[in-house]
Amino acid sequence: MLVTTIINGLVLGGTYALLAMGLTIQYGIARIMNLAYGETIIAAAFLAFVLNSTLGVAPLVSLLVAAPAGFALSYLIYGLMLHPLVKRSKGRASLEVDSILATFGLLFVIQGVMLVFFGGNYISYTYMNFGIDILGSSVAANRLTALILALVLGGGLYLLLTRTLWGTALRAVSVAPQSAPLVGIDADRAARFAFALGGALATCGGVVISMYQTFTASSGVIFTMKALIVVILGGVGNLAGALSAGLLLGLVETLVATYVSPGLTLAAVYFIFLGVLLWRPSGLFGRAR
């Protein structure tokens, strides 16, 4: 029982870590607080569901469609909607307010589109729904795949950002957006790219989630919420922080759901969030500013 719970917690945590990495890139590098992030996730989950139920495409294959689609769509959203706001803003704070408001509107647009197409029902499909024996307890194969996928994608992204010149440039923009242009980095392009990359991670996360969870057209808000909390826990822009905070959150949530009550998971998440705000506002792994 405990082993199953812990593994399920790690699966959920791995997914949260993946989602939070996308958001931390969008917020840390592109400086956009994207409240429609969860809607991107759910849209990808619907995509995986439709491909699976109509054409019989495996979710692992739909990733090949979802990730580029997420990238392109986010690139477009940034170019059309957010870039004018960035140009207009006079400072960090006014951009924050503008981006919060604009993406809050976007949230309702995307959610509305999904409601029109799929209605408000709970959706799920079965994929790799058999047990695999780990340490004497049975874990669903789809969950295990989800965990591996999250770790591979998250790890790949981490290497990309820390080991390549291109990734270093992105991180430079995150640390010092004013100084980055001085060393020949196109901060504008970096922001656009970071936002699109974050969108691609969100859609990957959405496909992963659809493999083992039920979802509805309106559950995006909760995912945005949790991803945001993981980002704060890990420290804004901190990938390793997002990874560990995501795993922690998934574990806590699963433990609460199993041993206390499934109805109190969000309360547990908020409790942790509150604790971090009071105790270490710069994040569990962030440096004090």
Partner: protein
Amino acid sequence: MMKGAFVWAIFALTLAVLAAAPFFLEAYGLGLLIGLLGYVTLASAWGLFSGRTGYVSLATVAFFGVGAYAVAALNEVLPYPLVLLVAALAGLGLALAVGLSTLRLAGVYFVIFTFGLAELVRQLVTWYEINVTGTLGRYIFMDLGPEHIYWQLLALAAATLFITWRIDRSRLGLALRVIADDEVVAAHLGIDLARTKLALFALSSVIVTLVGAIQAPRWTYIEPAIVFNPTVSFLTLVMALLGGASRLWGPALGAVPLFLLFEWLSANFPNHYSILLGLLFIAIVFALPKGVFAFAEMHLKTRGGEKRIVPVEAESKP
């Protein structure tokens, strides 16, 4: 001073006409006015805090729902005035908990906290109702006609506008204007940032809670999914933004056309309602970042009309 007296006379006259409205309107018209007044009050209360501090609150419906639920839970136990008092206290408690933990920090923590607050409260109420009381929905049977609800809302709306007017002219209002312009300067002037923001947030939240409490008897049947509907937060925000959240009359005047538009949209395009709302919202953020009145004023000024002194408005925080 003549102008001041004139404005007061118009205010009093409008209030009197509105107060007499239930004697002339049939049920549908009165219902429409109740909804409209509810949103006028919500948007004004939102502007009172968010418009003046630049802290975007996305949790309107959390307080609104708490108010409605307090009435649903207590309407058979306590007399009505006490029920309202308890509802207001519940809203105050929630506001203090949120404010104390986030308002000392950067604005973004506040936004994140309020973003999920309604969902948190909804889940907690649902959990409590299922596990402790064993039911999900509640009934409200009260001896209140629609006209009583209407008059209460009208009084609350007038009180909200009056309080906002007073605050704008008080030391608190001056402090807020400094905070909105530059928090560092404000701190150096000896303004207690956290306390000022907290006081305003608590006040605005109590008003929102009371709107929920007063409107609750209209539903008769209440369950968490009904009273914690995120569209309420969304509509409130759009209305306040359209009119200009930092102005006294902005949110109220933004609420009137938008409420009627939303009524029409939800009747004619029920399926595409939230898409249209979202697009409208984005358009407002783009075209009228400071509200339609600031836009009109700016336009008149650049057209080279009469030279007049435009009052310094509290801009959104830089």
